[in-house]
């Protein structure tokens, strides 16, 4: 068997491939659901209800979508320039920690309208700085960033753990390892009352649109793509690879850090070491599902959030172990990877 690259990908295939992938994933997951002795179609119906069936479920799905858009964008931006940032999880945590620290009573004490944007920026900056380390190692010493960004995730989470059991520990939390909380008026306004949905969603969607514009219309977008696709040719054409990649890293790490900041400001109010159920890693999944397209990231994040929230609700309703949600997302990723490959390549003998 050999794979041969298609000169042109027919539109029908480009559309059919992702749909086919999701269908395939749902069929495979259906087998597992059937193993639980539960009617599969009913389970999927419940999943839909769990994700979209009520005001609550819709708000929850969108709440979950918010950080995933941001970490998805973080991965997409980086991957497009072949910066393999697997470290969004760590950047998320550092962003969250910076935001919580500055937004707490130990922090800035500015007017909310002034301080909230500053807090978001601080979170973004913290995330960005963390990614600059592996990028610097790559540019200066040729150290591959896949492994370094991955490893720094654990360093970052341990650092957060150290801080929230140490100087940033909330003294009023009865000994629980959690950070000092942000001041009450720093919380992001809700989009819906009596729900967890907050304006962070709009920020995330807005940033996706901005990023789409940057990538498709600006000189930086063009140069960043060139740097990723063929660094040698880009360098020959005078693209300042180093500074372009540094900017890419700042944006990528910044988005992941912002995701952490927004999760603190919008939902949680403080930092614990289980603030993220793997948002950083799931961001990689989201970005791949989206084909690295920022607009696609919105859709992919919504898809992944739907699967999580829907399957979680379904598991409660039907007695299927809730782990099925992760199974479906993982299967979607794997089938999507294969589908995208098959859309771009032709199989010969």
């Amino acid at each position: 068997m050999r794979l041969e690259r298609r000169a042109h990908v027919p539109l029908s295939l480009a559309i059919a491939a992702p749909i086919g992938a999701v269908v395939a994933a749902l069929i495979l997951a259906g087998l597992l659901i059937a193993l639980a002795g539960v009617p599969v179609f009913e389970a999927y119906r419940r999943m839909l209800i769990g994700a979209f069936g009520s005001r609550l479920s819709i708000s929850e799905t969108l709440t979950r979508t918010t950080p995933l858009i941001l970490t998805g964008l973080a991965a997409a931006v980086a991957f497009r320039s072949r910066v393999w940032n697997i470290g969004a999880e760590g950047q998320f945590y550092l962003g969250a920690l910076a935001t919580a620290a500055l937004g707490s009573k130990l922090g800035l004490h500015l007017a909310p309208l002034v301080e909230i944007p500053i807090l978001m920026l601080a979170g973004a900056l913290a995330g960005a700085l963390l990614l600059l380390v592996p990028l610097g190692l790559r540019l200066k010493f040729g150290v591959d960033e896949v492994v370094t960004t991955l490893l720094l995730n654990f360093v970052a989470v341990l650092f957060v753990s150290m801080m929230i059991e140490g100087p940033l520990k909330d003294p009023l939390a009865f000994g629980w390892p959690q950070s000092v909380p942000i001041l009450a008026d720093m919380a992001l306004p809700k989009l819906l009352p009596r729900s967890r949905l907050h304006i962070g969603l709009l920020v995330a969607i807005g940033l996706a649109l901005v990023l789409y514009f940057i990538q498709s219309r600006t000189r930086f977008g063009l140069e960043a793509r060139a740097a990723g696709l063929n660094p040698q040719a880009a360098r020959f054409a005078g693209v300042p690879i180093g500074s372009i990649l540094v900017r890419v890293a700042l944006i990528s790490g910044g988005l992941a850090g912002l995701a952490g900041a927004i999760e603190v400001l919008g939902v949680k109010g403080y930092v614990t070491t289980d603030l993220s159920p793997g948002f950083g890693y799931t961001g990689v999944v989201v970005a791949m599902l989206a084909g690295l397209n920022p607009i696609g990231v919105i859709v992919a994040a919504l898809f992944v959030a739907t699967m999580f929230v829907g399957a979680d609700g379904m598991s409660r309703a039907m007695g299927v172990p809730s782990f099925i949600a992760d199974v479906i997302v993982a299967l979607s990723l794997l089938t999507m990877l294969v589908a995208l490959l098959l859309a771009n390549y032709r199989v010969r003998r």
Binding site: L137, F141, V143, L151, L152, A330
Partner: protein, 314 residues
């Protein structure tokens, strides 16, 4: 009371080091074999989890402990095959596929565990591996307790490190794996099928990873529960780098890491919380990054690592 240095003189510390190191040795050797053939396998965390689950389940359902290990290895091999098929003949990006495999294997193991083992008040247990007493050696004064009071898989893991080191350096198969990891085109020109060698290496390596997981449920503890691998897989990925892709150094790295962990647990009894325990846990990761820094200059990284090989493409 003892002081911080006396801890090193307790046999228990060294016994703990070997015990904590064992899953890391298996996992690191597994990741190392994959990487020497040019394939990064970030599925390790999930594969270890799956191995822990399958091994435990086999024994829980009446299987022998060794059968449990075999079942785990087989399950690991199956996920390895999946990773290999996606990344080798299809050439999909190795790190993304690996993360997908981790997500898939770990959620699937929790899911299956929940389906098969009815919810009960306390975690069901099995009778795990008992320390294997080696005649004479186990009776030695300090060493007996420190080194020769381990369960059988620990000895196997240590032996494996040397066997794999030997195999890579001294056997035709090992040379084939290395040349495929360095330059698959060179391998092909020598009549070695890089695709098969890569698939086989990933399958074998993944089986080892699963053994590391199974050690957790069959020897280090006696029950399975979600998230029990606790990032050990990622530590292994770091250790491969730290070991500069050499099995004997992987053994050393795993022991060193375990020493940090075991020492840290004991130190807190002695000096309280003078140094946050997180610092100790961070050290292996930071050391690995430092090792990468040194290594990158010396180009000892398998040159074809993460580069897909597609036959007839240039």
């Amino acid at each position: 009371m003892m002081d911080a240095l006396d801890i090193f003189a307790t046999a228990g510390l060294w016994a703990a080091v070997l015990r904590i190191a064992t899953p890391l040795i298996f996992g690191t050797l597994g990741a190392l074999v994959c990487e020497r053939a040019g394939v990064l396998n970030l599925g390790i965390e999930g594969i270890m989890t799956f191995g822990a689950m399958v091994g435990w389940l086999t024994v829980y359902h009446g299987g022998d402990l060794w059968l449990g290990l075999a079942a785990a290895a087989l399950a690991g091999a199956a996920f390895g095959l999946l990773h290999a098929l996606l990344t080798v003949p299809l050439g999909l990006s190795q790190h993304v596929t690996g993360l997908g495999i981790t997500l898939f294997a770990s959620s699937l193991s929790y899911y299956i565990f929940r389906l098969v083992v009815p919810v009960s008040g306390t975690p069901p247990t099995i009778e795990p591996f008992q320390p294997l007493r080696i005649p004479y050696l186990s009776d030695l004064p300090f060493l007996g307790e420190a080194v020769f009071a381990q369960t059988a898989p620990t000895y196997v893991a240590i032996l494996l490190a040397f066997l794999i080191a030997l195999a890579l350096q001294k056997t035709p198969l090992g040379l084939a794996v290395r040349i495929v990891g360095e330059n698959p085109h060179a391998a092909e020109a020598q009549g070695i099928d890089p695709i098969r060698v890569r698939i086989a290496s990933v399958v074998f390596g993944s089986a080892l990873m699963a053994l590391g997981g199974a050690f957790l449920t069959l020897a280090a503890f006696n029950s399975f529960f979600p998230t029990m691998v606790q990032g050990r897989g990622w530590v292994c990925i770091a250790l491969v780098v730290f070991a500069s892709w050499r099995p004997e150094r992987a053994l050393l790295g795993a022991l060193l890491f375990a020493l940090f962990d075991a020492y840290q647990l004991r130190l807190s009894h002695v000096v309280g919380k003078a140094v946050p325990y997180q610092v100790f846990l961070m050290i292996p990761y930071l050391l690995s990054i430092a090792a990468l820094l040194v290594m990158a200059r010396r180009a000892r990284v398998p040159q074809a690592l993460m580069q897909p090989f597609r036959r007839g493409e240039r």
